[in-house]
C-alpha cells in the first residue's frame, strides 16, 4: 500500500493506493493517473467530493471497467500492460469522474450515465493526449498489442478528431449510454468545449435531481444567449434518428459563361438538429460546403429542422462536391455516406494503404486456416 496527499480547496485529500503484490510494479502508473485526474477534475468541477480517496488496482477478472463508490475507485490491473496500452488509466479516470456525478451507479439516470461517460471521455482526451493508443487484445484477451498508427487522443489544440467514447468508460456495460455520449459530443462540437465545460460545471453545482437534459439546455442557453432547449432535447431524444443527405447536386450553364448550381439538402431522419426559439423561429445549424471545379469553396448554413433546403449559386465553374456537415459536428448522423455528392473523387493513398494492410491480414488468415486442412 502507498499513501499520499492531494491538495483540495485549501486542505488535502488523503489518498491510499492499493495493489496486489504481484502487480505492485504498476502502482506508480496508478498514482500518476489518479493524481492527474483529480487535479484536472478539481479544475473543471470544483473541490473533490470526498476528503479521502482509496485507489485500488484490482486483479483482472474479465471486466475492463473501473468501479466507484464514495471515496473508493477501482480499476483492473493487467499482467501484461505496456505503456501504450492506457486502458487502466482510462478506467481510473472514468471512475474518478463518477465520484463527482454519481458514485452510486445503480441510482443514476440514463442521461446522467451519458453525462458521466461523456465527461470521462473528455477527461481521458485531456489527460492522455498523445499517449492514448488503440490496443487490441489477443489470445483470450491476455496479450495486448498497441497500435502506434491509431492515436485515440491527439494533443489538445490539435484539430485532428478524437473518438467519442471508450468501452472502459461506459457506465452501462451494454453500451447504451454511448448514444447519449455521441449526442453530448455533437452538442460540444456545435457550441465549443469551453461553453460545454462551463455548462457542465453549472449543472454539477445543482442538486443531483436536477441533472437533466433540460437543465443542461438552460445552462447552454444562458451561456450562448440563444435558446438551445429544442436542439438539446432533440439530440438526447433516444428515438430520434438523424440522417441528413445531399439529395441533389446539379450544375447547368446559364448566360455569360456562368454556371448555375443547385444543391438540395434533405432530412431523412426524424431527428432535427435545429435551433427553435419560443416563437418557433429557426436559425441555421447545419453547415454545407460546396466546392467548384475552379477550386473555389463556398460555405453556407441551413436550418436542420427543415425537411429540405435548396441552395443556388451562380459561379464561373460547375460544382464538383457538396457536403452537408463537412466538419462532422453531428456524430449522431446515421449514414454519413449520403452526406456528400462527390464528382472529383481522387484515389486516396490512405485507402490503398489500408486495403494493403487488410490484404496482408487476409493472406495471414488464409495461411493460418490452410494449415488446418
Amino acid at each position: 500500500m502507498q499513501a499520499g496527499r492531494l491538495p483540495r480547496d485549501g486542505g488535502a485529500i488523503e489518498v491510499r493506493y492499493l495493489t496486489a503484490r504481484e502487480l505492485s510494479a504498476q502502482a506508480p502508473r496508478l498514482s500518476t493517473a489518479a493524481t492527474a485526474a483529480v487535479t484536472l477534475l478539481q479544475d473543471w468541477f470544483g473541490p473533490f467530493p470526498a476528503e479521502s480517496l482509496t485507489v485500488a488496482g484490482t486483479p483482472w477478472r474479465g471486466s475492463d471497467h473501473g468501479t466507484a463508490l464514495p471515496g473508493l475507485v477501482t480499476a483492473p490491473l493487467r499482467w501484461i500492460a505496456p505503456v501504450r496500452d492506457q486502458s487502466m488509466e482510462r478506467a481510473i479516470i472514468g471512475a474518478l469522474v463518477r465520484q463527482y456525478f454519481a458514485p452510486d451507479v445503480a441510482a443514476s439516470q440514463p442521461f446522467v450515465d451519458s453525462l458521466i461517460t461523456y465527461a470521462a471521455t473528455r477527461a481521458v482526451h485531456h489527460l492522455l493526449e498523445g499517449s492514448n493508443f488503440a490496443a487490441p487484445r489477443f489470445f483470450g484477451g491476455f496479450v495486448p498489442f498497441p497500435l502506434r498508427t491509431v492515436l485515440l487522443s491527439p494533443p489538445v489544440g490539435d484539430p485532428r478528431p478524437r473518438v467519442a467514447g471508450f468501452a472502459e468508460l461506459a457506465v452501462r456495460t451494454d453500451g447504451r449510454d454511448l448514444r447519449g455520449v455521441r449526442a453530448l459530443e455533437s452538442l460540444e462540437r456545435y457550441v465549443g468545449w469551453p461553453t460545454m465545460l462551463a455548462a457542465l460545471s453549472q449543472l454539477r453545482m445543482r442538486d443531483a435531481s436536477e441533472w437533466t437534459a433540460l437543465a443542461l439546455a438552460d445552462a447552454l442557453s444562458t451561456l450562448r444567449g440563444t435558446d438551445m432547449r429544442f436542439l438539446v432535447q432533440e439530440c438526447v431524444r433516444a428515438d430520434a434518428v438523424f440522417d441528413y443527405a445531399i439529395g441533389d447536386l446539379r450544375s447547368q450553364a446559364v448566360a455569360s459563361g456562368q454556371v448555375e448550381t443547385t444543391v438540395t439538402i434533405v432530412r431523412r431522419g426524424t431527428g432535427r438538429f435545429a435551433i427553435r426559439d419560443n416563437g418557433g423561429a429557426a436559425a441555421g445549424t447545419l453547415p454545407v460546403a460546396v466546392r467548384f471545379a475552379d477550386g473555389r469553396e463556398i460555405r453556407d448554413v441551413v436550418d436542420g429542422g427543415a425537411e429540405s433546403a435548396t441552395l443556388v449559386y451562380t459561379a464561373p465553374a460547375p460544382a464538383v462536391r457538396a457536403v452537408v456537415d463537412p466538419d462532422v459536428i453531428l456524430l449522431l448522423d446515421a449514414d454519413r455516406a449520403n452526406n456528400a455528392v462527390v464528382r472529383d473523387a481522387k484515389m486516396s493513398k490512405l485507402g490503398i494503404r489500408l486495403a494493403m494492410h487488410w490484404l496482408a491480414w487476409l493472406q495471414n488468415t488464409m495461411l493460418s486456416y490452410a494449415a488446418l486442412s
Binding site: 496486489a20 504481484e22 486483479p59 483482472w60 493487467r78 499482467w79 501484461i80 488503440a134 487490441p136 489477443f138 489470445f139 483470450g140 491476455f142 496479450v143 498489442f145 497500435l147 502506434r148 498508427t149 491509431v150 492515436l151 484539430p159 485532428r160 478528431p161 473518438v163 467519442a164 466538419d327 462532422v328 449514414d335 454519413r336 455516406a337 452526406n339 456528400a340 462527390v342 473523387a345 481522387k346 484515389m347 486516396s348 485507402g351 490503398i352 494503404r353 489500408l354 486495403a355 494493403m356 494492410h357 487488410w358 490484404l359 496482408a360 491480414w361 487476409l362 493472406q363 495471414n364 488468415t365 488464409m366 495461411l367 493460418s368 486456416y369 490452410a370 494449415a371 488446418l372 486442412s373
Partner: protein, 318 residues
Amino acid sequence: MTQPSSPIRALTAGMADVARAPLLLAGVALITLVIALPFAAVLQSRLQASLSVQPHVSLNETEIDPEWWMEFRAHARGLAASFTPAVLGFAATLDGISNVLDGRPVPAAIIAPLVLSMVAWAFIWGGALQRFRAGRGIGFRGFLAAGRAHVGRFVTIAVVAAAINFVLYLTVHRLLFGPVHALLTGFTGTERDAFLVRMFLYLIFFGLIATVSLGADYARIATISGRSASSMDALRTSVAFIASHAGAVAVLFILTGLIFAAATIGYGTLEVVGGSEVGGWRAVAIGQLYVLVRLALRLTFAASELRLFTANQAAAAE
C-alpha cells in the same frame, strides 16, 4: 542400405529443396496473392467511398483517423466488417493465430477466399511435392500436370482434415475453453497463472489439430510417393507412418514450429522497436515479406516431411 532420415537432416534437406526452387516459391506467393487481391479490391472501393466524404485531416503518413475508422466500422457490412484495428501490421499476424487458437468464428464474408485458398493449396501441393520428389525443376507444364493429377484426391484429404478439425472445435475446444478453462482459472490467483492455464489448454488443443494436419500432410506425401491407391488409402498410410515414426514426425514439426516462432517474434520485435520508422508503406512491405517467409516455411516443412517419409519408407523396405 538406406539410413532412416533424422528430423534435422530432413529439415536441412527440405530447406535446400526450397532454396533450389525460387520460382516455385514465387509462383505460390503469386497464387495466394491473386486469390486475395479481388477481395482487397472490393474492400478498397468501400474504403475510398468512405474516405472521399471525410473532412480533410492532416495526419502523419503512418497515422489513421480513429474517428473515421469508428464511423466506417459502425456501418460496415460483409468484407468491410472485417476491417478492424487488428488488420494493421503485426496485429494481423497475432489476429490470425489468435483466432485459430481461440476458435473465433470465421467472418462469413471471408469464407469464400478461405475455400478458394484450400482448393488452390490442394492444387499447389500436387505440383510442389512432385517438384520436391523429382529433386529438379519439372517446368510449368509439369507443375500444372501434377497439380491437375492430384487435385481431386488432395481436395478430399483437405475436406476430411477440415471436417475433423471442425468437429474438434465444436467438441473439444468448447469443452476446454468453456467449463475446463473456467474451472482451472477459478483455482488461479493471478492473471499470469490464468494465462499459463490458457497456454496449457492451447497446447492440448493445438496438439490435436496439429496431429490432424500432419495426417493430411503425410497423406498427400503418400499419394505423391505412389504408395496409395485412393485418398482413404493415403490417409491410412499416413496414420500408419505417423504412428510408427511419431518421434521423428513430432521433432520435425517442433523444429519447424520454432523457426516459425522465431520469424514471428522477429517481426513483432521489428515493429515494436522500429515504431513509426516501420509504419505506413514500409509496414505494408514488411507484412508482405512476412507472408513470403510463412509461405517459404510451409513449403520447407512439406519438403522436409517428404524427405522424412521417403527415407524412412525406403529404409523400411530394405
